[in-house]
Structure formats: C-alpha cells, structure tokens
Point group: C2
Chain length 234, copies 2
C-alpha cells in the first residue's frame, strides 16, 4: 500500500448516515404541519429516486445538473407519493438542504483525520461542492480536496468521475484508492486501475439491509470503519 | 459583514511567500550543478512570465491548460534566459513542483483556521488543484474547498473564475468576500458584487517592491495579516 498517495471517499453511506439524518429532517419539517408518516420509509423513498435520476444524466438523456437539483425534483415526487402538499418553494429548498446536514458515522471524522496525516484524502461523491462543503463543516470532516461529480460533470460510476479526480491530483490511477461501502463503486474504480477498500456499513439502509453487507470481490482492503482503515494502511 | 458566508483567497503572494520559496528551490536544484545565479532574480524572472502565459488563455489564443503546464514551459524559457541547460525532463518536472511547496506567510495557517470557524474558506487561485493540495499540506493550510482556475477552466481576473466559485458554493456574490494582496484581483471581484479585503504583503516581490503596497480603492477591509482579518470579521 506504500504507493497509495490519495484516498477517494464515497460519502453517502460510507462516511455519513444519510438515512437517519434525512428521516429526522423530514419529521422536523413535516411533523409540525400535521403530517404523520414512517419517516425512515420516506427517506428511503427519496433515496430510491437517486439512481434513476442520475441515470438520466449518465445515459445522455439530460445535460449534467448538480445533485441539489435532482434532490429537489425527487423531493417533490416523494411528497406527492406520500400525499403531502402545500410546501412553498422556499420550504422545499430548505428541506432539500437536509442533505447538506447529514451526520457522519461515529468513526468518520477521526478516521479521516488519521488517514489525512499520511495521505491526501478527497471526497469522490456524486454530491455537489456546496453540499459537500456544508455537510463536511456540519460533521467536522476535513478534506484536502472535493473531487467527484461536479468537477467531472458526470455521475459515478461513469469512469470520467474517477479519472478526472485522478488527473486533478496529478496522479496515476494506481496511486489512488477508492474507499466505499458499495461494491459497484469499487468495481468501477478497480476497472480503471485504482486500488479499493470496502467499508462495511450494514445499517446504511436500516436494520433490514440486504445489499452490500459483504465484499463481492477480493478488494484490497475490507474493514468495518475508517479508523480501522487508518490502522490497516499505517 | 454578517452576510458574508464564504471567504475566497488569492494564494500566491496573499497566503504564501512564493518568491523566497522558489528562490530556495532553484538554488537547491541548480547550485549542486555548479550554477551560480541571483536566485531571487531567477524566481522573479520565472514569475514575470506568469501573467503573459495566462493571458494567452484569457485572450482565447490557447485552450485552457493548468498552471503546472505554464510553470513548466516558463521554467524552460527562464533557464534558457539564464544560460542554464542540461536538465532532464524529470528534473524539469521536479523543479516545476517547487510551486507545490511554497511556504505560507507566518500568519496564514493560524489566520485561515480562525476564519474557518465562522465562515467557509476557499482557495480562489490560478493554481491548479494538485498544486493547491500539495502546497496546503506542505504549509498546514485547511480549506473547505479549492475553487479557482481549474474548476472554472479560466484564469483570474476572468469573471468566470469568481462566478463559478460563487455558484459552486450555492451562494450569491454579495455573500462572498475576495481576500487578496493585489488590487487588480479585488477590482475584478468587486465588479461582480463580491465584498473585498486587501491584505498588505509589502515584501511579496522582495525588499524593493513598488506595486500593491497600499489599497488602490476603498476596499471593505484593509489589513496586514490573516489573523488581523479574523479579528476584524469576528
């Protein structure tokens, strides 16, 4: 692992617990309006529209727009799905920004800080720069750079996303390691020559999660936290 | 100043002392080869080619290339000017990376850290992302985001550079303040609606500096260090 100079982090699910945070934000915004719902299910429904929305961009059916735009459109669809109406444009904007205030997993801030002592740590997320900046300040996460979708104008697992990040750091793919809780993300990174680390996040999708519970290939590192990753790479 | 949510920093000259650092790197690289020169004058000559090289991009005579490319081309021209030959491509690459290891001014790391407690701090430099990442790790500088030339694919004072940064943070120009030791940089930012802070760096160009010794307009803040700026904005 001595050749690895930069670590690229998937963020949603790998570094932050989006589901609990979004469920809480939905309850805080809609509860006082008299809405009663399974907030975690509503968070799941919002997230379920994430991949299909990005797929429109990946497939070339729509020009690149940042994730805040997709989150806002998807929120409107989810509220309709749950029969919730009457929010103003400003209220919809504010609720969309729930994704800017996701709490990190307990090991994330400390793990990133430890990893950053020896290597470049960069966000390699489909989130836009404003979202990453706000989420990171909220959670005490320090990055050397925010790479990813907005810089590449493409959504993972589009190869452009990883390659633009590698290029921006002036490195070769083999000098970079993709860190993710998702096998698909690592599969795309490995195909381009990046090293790979799988972090188990068995409750990203709640207590009954069925996907990405275990590594689906022989990734270079498999671990249970970013602090464990720091120990393994040191 | 309560509305200011993000501070954009010019870096070369404002945050780091490029001249002393580059002179030292030239001496370290060329001295052992038997070259004897006025190293500060050689650093000045290298820097003198910076604006004309970027102007080729600004004027549309050349597609955008990152600053590492311009620094490398300019190094070859300066070495020829000083009658120095015989460096290999790898040696030229390594010397070009002198710009990735510029020392900060004594107040920079502490000032940025203090400013970052209350506001987003972002690099708004003509340097590329790799250069900014390496220089910041070298000098202990922590940013929330690296904006600037590479993100915008344009060089300051091209308005695109500032506006792309504002947009990436999801803010309005009036919510951002440009911080620079250069009146031209602040003039361009103010014309777009950003707030402005002038930092006196009277030895950026050495002991006989004649430019940018004082503010050329009534900038919103005028100060002598980033720690003073933090005091003034708190």
């Amino acid at each position: 692992m001595g050749k690895i100079e930069a670590l690229f982090f998937d963020v949603f699910g790998t570094v932050v617990d989006w589901r609990s945070s979004v469920a809480r934000a939905l309850e805080a915004a809609l509860g006082p309006r008299g809405v009663s719902a399974d907030w975690a299910a509503m968070a799941d429904a919002w997230r379920a529209r994430y991949q299909p929305a990005m797929e429109e961009v990946r497939a070339g059916r729509r020009p690149f727009v940042v994730l805040d735009v997709l989150h806002r459109e998807n929120l409107e669809a989810v509220l309709a799905e749950f029969g919730v109406g009457g929010l103003s444009a400003a209220e919809l904007d504010a609720l969309t920004r729930a994704w800017h205030r996701l709490d990190p997993w307990p090991d994330s801030a400390g793990g990133l800080a430890a990893l950053r002592r020896a290597r470049i740590v960069a966000a390699m997320s489909n989130g836009n720069i404003a979202l990453m900046v706000n989420l990171s300040r909220h959670g005490g996460l320090v990055w050397d750079a925010i790479l990813g979708a907005e810089l590449a104008q493409a959504y993972k697992p589009d190869p452009l996303c990883y390659l633009r990040g590698v290029e921006a750091l002036g490195l070769q793919p083999a000098q970079c390691m993709m860190v993710a809780a998702h096998n698909d993300d690592l599969r795309a990174a490995r195909a381009l020559g990046l090293a790979t680390a799988f972090v188990r996040r068995p409750t990203e999708h709640g207590p009954r999660q069925t996907t990405d519970l275990e590594p689906a290939a022989a990734w270079d590192v498999v671990c249970d936290s970013l602090t464990e990753l720091a120990d393994r790479l040191s």
